[in-house]
Symmetry: C2
Subunit: 213 residues, 2 copies
Amino acid sequence: MTRAKVVDRATRILDAGGPDALTLSRVARELGVRPPSLFDHIEGLPGLLRALRIRSFEAQTELLRAAAVGRSEDDALRAVALAYRGFTTAHPGLYRISVRTYVGDAPEVQRAAGALLSAFLEILRGYAIAEDELVHAARFARGALHGFLTLEAEGGFGLATNVDASFERTVDAICRALGTWTSPIGGWSSASTARGRPSRPRRARMRSAELGR
Amino acid sequence: MTRAKVVDRATRILDAGGPDALTLSRVARELGVRPPSLFDHIEGLPGLLRALRIRSFEAQTELLRAAAVGRSEDDALRAVALAYRGFTTAHPGLYRISVRTYVGDAPEVQRAAGALLSAFLEILRGYAIAEDELVHAARFARGALHGFLTLEAEGGFGLATNVDASFERTVDAICRALGTWTSPIGGWSSASTARGRPSRPRRARMRSAELGR
DNA sequence: GGATATTTCCTAACTATATTAGGTTGGGTT
DNA sequence: AACCCAACCTAATATAGTTAGGAAATATCC
């Protein structure tokens, strides 16, 4: 019984049964030991979750780097997107657990998350995007990819008609947006924007209705 | 003590303390009753979560409709995006809980989720996008919005430098992509694409490494 | 090789949570 | 006045996580 085996088994349970299925009792049962025995290898449930998050971030980072090597711009982004989708499909639970609790988490987790972030930034460096716009572009691209995959994993697309095609179109759209990235002041990037830049959104006020009290 | 009060209090706890803070014990304590008393108003914890998800979807749907009324295309999308961000900021817990568990959930929850989906589709109808492309465009737009807001809410952007600007850029990027939406066959929409349509991504194979065993 | 230290598992016990069963009470109805 | 039922209660059970402390196996050191 080693720490790695505990985390391995937890990963399997997580991927197969979702977050609610993962309990120390179950991990212990499947490993043939009693729950308290796990505490000699992980620091309780929080420690196990921490280990899983780190594993998830590291896997994603490596994946991303491997997919991008030797490619650039749209080519790199497409490869990364495909690899990412492969990951969320193969390890839905592990992916999910990496979302949530970046902030306030242990330094090691923060570090793993940071590595993923910078790997992503690296890929976007191929595009003709001003340095101070890069972070915005990265947030957009990562968010778009992440949002699609999350919704897909959660079944948020309702009837699963043609999700593959939707994904291709989504990646295309991201590439298109990155290829025509603009600064808010004037045109920066090589290509001119297709439809200019429509009026700045005026701050709309929202009512939070009678939710929560 | 009414059902509505239970759900209200649960919403507050959820928004203030996150998913882990929400327990029946706590709801009961804050309402001045004992836990079993709650069972006369909700069907246990699963029932409470169900009610919360429904409330979340309904709130989002109404919000979206209200923001879009009287506007179209980019104008509508910008307003919707702002309203959405306002919602996730005001009710992070309630928003979170709507993500996850679409599939396999109770019919009422499915219905509430479906209403949100179709409201979103309605907004995109203003764009010059072919009918059979609409669903793809909606998945992209919703995913991008959702992904950004999720990452922001989870602190996934690391140092919170200029997230407001990132959001504006992201909404711009979504508008741009929708304005230049293409069909995979040929040009459909009004504007021609800025950078043509690069080679179809070839299915990359991924290794799932030694994760989960 | 034998004494010792460390690792790894165990049982026992405690806490919190969700949940069921069944009792009490008071307001409103016939 | 008798009744019903809505809304609360106490008591009890099951499961999860966790701590304390002990026993056995394994590694380490003289």
